[in-house]
C-alpha cells in the first residue's frame, strides 16, 4: 500500500510538471505574439542577449514585465485562495471575501479624490501620483482584514464569523467608495473607474521585484505550514490534538494571504476569480493535500492569469482589454461549474 501511496504522490508531481511546462509555453507564445510580431527564434535571440533594438524594447520593456506580472499576481492569488479556504474551512473564502478588493477600491478612489489622478480629455486616464494611489490602495486593501483579525484576536471569532465579518466589511467599503465618488468630479470619477479594471500593463520591473519578494517569503511560510493546513481542514479539535496552535496560525495565515493579495491589487487593480478557480480545480484534480495544493495552486493561478491576459491582449489587438474583465467573464461560469462538480463529491 505504501507503494500505491508513492505512485499517487508521483502523479501529483507529474501534474506540477505539466503545469510548469504549459506556463513556459504560454509565456513564449505571449512574448512572440502581439501587434508587433516577433518570431520564436528572435524571442530566444533577445532572451539570450541578442536581437535588434526594436525587438529588445518590445520584448524586454513591454511584454516580458507584463508576463512576469501575470505569473506573480496569478500565483499570489492562487496560493492566497488555497490557504484561506483551508484555514477558514470555507470553499468561498479568498482574500477578496475578506474585503481586500473593495478596500483597495476605496483607498484608490480616495487617493484620486485627494488629487492623485484624473483623466485627460482624450479619455486616457492619467494618474499623476501613482505612488499615492498604490499606497492608498494597499492600506485600504489590508485594513479590512486588520479590523477583522483584531476582532478575532479579542473576541475569539470562529472561521464562519470571520467570513461573515469579511462580507460586512466589504459592504462598508462599497458604501464608503460610493460616498467618495459622490464628491468626485467627472474626470476623477473616470480615473476611479479606470483604476478598478485590473490591468497588468501597470506593472514594471520595479513592481515585479516587490511582488517577487512578498510572494516568495509568504509562499515559503505556507509551504512550511502545509501539515498544519491539512490539520485545519479536519476541524480545530483534530488540529489541536496533533499539536497545532490553530487560533494563532489562522490569524497569521489570513493576514499573510491578505498581504500578498493587497500588494498585487495595489499594483495592478482587482482581478477576480483566480483565487477561487485555481485552488478548486487543483483540489478536484490532485486532492486536498496542501503539500501539493500550495505549489499547484500557484502554478495554476499563474497559468490562468497569464493565459487570460494573453487573450485580453490579442483579442481586440492593437487595443488592450483589461484582464480583470476577461477573468470575471470566464471565471464566474467556470466557478459555478467547479462548485457543481464538487457538490457531486460530497
Amino acid at each position: 500500500m505504501a507503494m500505491d501511496y508513492r505512485t499517487y504522490q508521483q502523479k501529483k508531481a507529474l501534474m506540477g510538471l505539466i503545469l510548469f511546462l504549459s506556463l513556459l509555453g504560454v509565456s513564449l507564445a505571449s512574448l512572440s505574439n502581439g501587434p508587433y510580431h516577433v518570431s520564436l527564434r528572435e524571442v530566444f535571440a533577445v532572451l539570450s542577449g541578442g536581437g535588434n533594438g526594436d525587438e529588445r524594447l518590445v520584448l524586454l520593456g513591454i511584454r516580458l514585465p507584463r508576463i512576469v506580472a501575470g505569473i506573480l499576481v496569478g500565483a499570489s492569488m492562487g496560493v492566497a485562495g488555497a490557504v484561506l479556504q483551508g484555514y477558514l474551512r470555507n470553499p468561498l473564502a479568498t482574500p477578496f471575501t475578506m474585503g481586500v478588493s473593495h478596500g483597495a477600491m476605496f483607498g484608490a478612489s480616495l487617493a484620486i479624490l485627494l488629487g492623485a489622478g484624473y483623466s485627460l480629455n482624450s479619455g486616457q486616464v492619467f494618474i499623476s501620483n501613482p505612488y499615492a494611489v498604490v499606497l492608498f490602495a494597499f492600506f485600504g486593501a489590508i485594513s479590512a482584514t486588520l479590523v477583522i483579525l483584531t476582532l478575532a484576536r479579542l473576541r475569539g471569532l470562529s472561521p464562519e464569523a470571520i467570513v461573515l465579518a469579511g462580507v460586512a466589511m466589504s459592504s462598508l467599503y462599497v458604501a464608503l467608495t460610493t460616498l467618495v465618488q459622490y464628491f468626485a468630479n467627472e474626470i476623477q470619477l473616470s480615473a476611479m473607474v479606470y483604476w478598478s479594471f485590473g490591468n497588468l500593463e501597470r506593472a514594471t520591473w520595479r513592481e515585479n521585484a516587490i511582488m517577487t519578494v512578498s510572494f516568495t517569503v509568504v509562499f515559503i511560510y505556507f509551504i512550511l505550514k502545509r501539515w498544519d493546513l491539512n490539520a485545519s481542514t479536519l476541524g480545530d479539535e483534530v488540529a489541536k490534538s496533533v499539536g497545532v496552535n490553530i487560533e494563532r496560525d489562522r490569524l497569521i495565515g489570513t493576514l499573510l494571504s491578505a498581504f500578498i493579495t493587497s500588494v498585487t491589487v495595489a499594483f495592478v487593480g482587482v482581478i477576480g476569480f483566480i483565487g477561487l478557480i485555481a485552488p478548486h480545480s487543483m483540489r478536484l484534480i490532485a486532492g486536498g493535500d496542501y503539500r501539493a495544493l500550495i505549489p499547484l495552486s500557484a502554478l495554476a493561478g499563474a497559468l490562468l492569469l497569464l493565459s487570460a491576459d494573453t487573450v485580453a491582449r490579442l483579442m481586440v489587438s492593437p487595443m488592450n482589454l483589461p484582464v480583470g474583465v476577461v477573468t470575471s467573464f470566464l471565471g464566474a461560469p467556470a466557478f459555478i461549474y467547479l462548485l457543481v462538480r464538487m457538490e457531486g463529491q460530497r
Binding site: M1, N230, T233, G235, G243, G288
Partner: protein, 246 residues
C-alpha cells in the same frame, strides 16, 4: 497518569463542569456515562487539553505546562466528528504523525499509518478522499488517525457513533487491546450496553458533577434511575451484562 482536581469549566456564564475529581491510572479502560448535556464531552475536551481548563494534571504536571508538541506525543483525542474533505484517507491518518515528523514523513511514519489502517480494517480506503466515504468509515479514519499518533492516553468522544454493530465491536475490542498494552483509554459513551461490556470502570456524570465512579459493583437500577431518569431491567446474556430501559 491523568488527573482532575476540582475541575471547573464555563462557557461564558454557564458553568458546565462544577468541580470534578478524577484519577486515572495507566492501562485503565474507562467509560464516561451520563445524559445529554451532562458535560461529558466538555470533560473529555478538558482532559485532552483542547479546552483550556485549570485542574487537569498529566503525569503529575499541569496539562497547560506541556507544549502542544509534547502533549500531542502523549495524548490523542478523537472528536465526535471530523470534517470530510478532499484529503485522502492515507493523508488524514498521516496527520497523526505530525508530532513526530520532520519536514517529510519517514518510513517509520508511513508504516505507522499502515498499521493504524490495518487495525481499523480500512486499508482498501487508503487512497479515497474523505468526502467519498461513508460516515461510519470516516469515524474509523478518525480513530486510525489517533492511533497513528501512538499515544499513551487515548480519549474518544462517542467512538462507536454511526458505526454498524460489527464495527462497534471491532472498535471496542481495539480499545480493550490498547488498554491491555498499558495505554489509558477513556471514552464518552451513549451506548450503555457497549460500555458495560468492555469498560472496567464507569464514571457517571450529571449536571456537571460526578455522581459515582467505580467498577461493576456500583451498577444498580437505582443508579440508572437517578442518572438517566428512567427505569431499567438488568440481566446477563452469556456472561455479558445487558441493560434494557423500560
Amino acid at each position: 497518569m491523568i488527573e482532575a482536581r476540582n475541575l471547573r469549566f464555563s462557557y461564558g456564564d454557564k458553568e458546565v463542569l462544577k468541580g470534578i475529581e478524577l484519577e486515572v491510572k495507566e492501562g485503565e479502560l474507562i467509560s464516561i456515562l451520563g445524559p445529554n448535556g451532562a458535560g461529558k464531552s466538555t470533560l473529555l475536551k478538558c482532559l485532552a487539553g483542547i479546552l483550556k481548563c485549570r485542574g487537569v494534571y498529566l503525569r503529575g504536571k499541569p496539562i497547560n505546562e506541556y507544549s502542544p508538541k509534547e502533549l500531542s506525543r502523549i495524548l490523542a483525542y478523537v472528536p465526535q466528528r471530523i470534517e470530510p474533505g478532499f484529503l485522502t484517507v492515507f493523508d488524514t491518518v498521516l496527520l497523526g504523525r505530525r508530532p513526530y515528523m520532520g519536514l517529510t514523513p519517514s518510513e517509520r511514519d508511513l508504516s505507522a499509518v499502515e498499521d493504524a489502517l490495518k487495525a481499523l480494517g480500512i486499508v482498501e480506503l487508503a487512497l479515497k478522499r474523505t468526502n467519498e466515504i461513508s460516515g461510519g468509515e470516516l469515524q474509523k479514519v478518525s480513530i486510525a488517525r489517533a492511533l497513528a499518533q501512538e499515544p499513551d492516553v487515548l480519549l474518544m468522544d462517542e467512538p462507536t457513533n454511526s458505526l454498524d454493530m460489527k464495527s462497534q465491536l471491532q472498535v471496542m475490542r481495539l480499545a480493550k487491546k490498547l488498554s491491555k498494552e498499558g495505554k489509558t483509554v477513556i471514552t464518552v459513551m451513549h451506548d450503555v450496553n457497549l460500555a458495560l461490556r468492555f469498560a472496567k470502570r464507569f464514571i457517571f456524570i450529571k449536571w456537571g458533577r460526578k455522581v459515582v465512579d467505580g467498577g461493576f459493583e456500583i451498577l444498580s437500577k437505582e443508579l440508572f434511575k437517578e442518572v438517566y431518569g428512567t427505569d431499567v431491567e438488568m440481566g446477563e446474556v452469556r456472561g455479558i451484562p445487558v441493560l434494557v430501559p423500560i
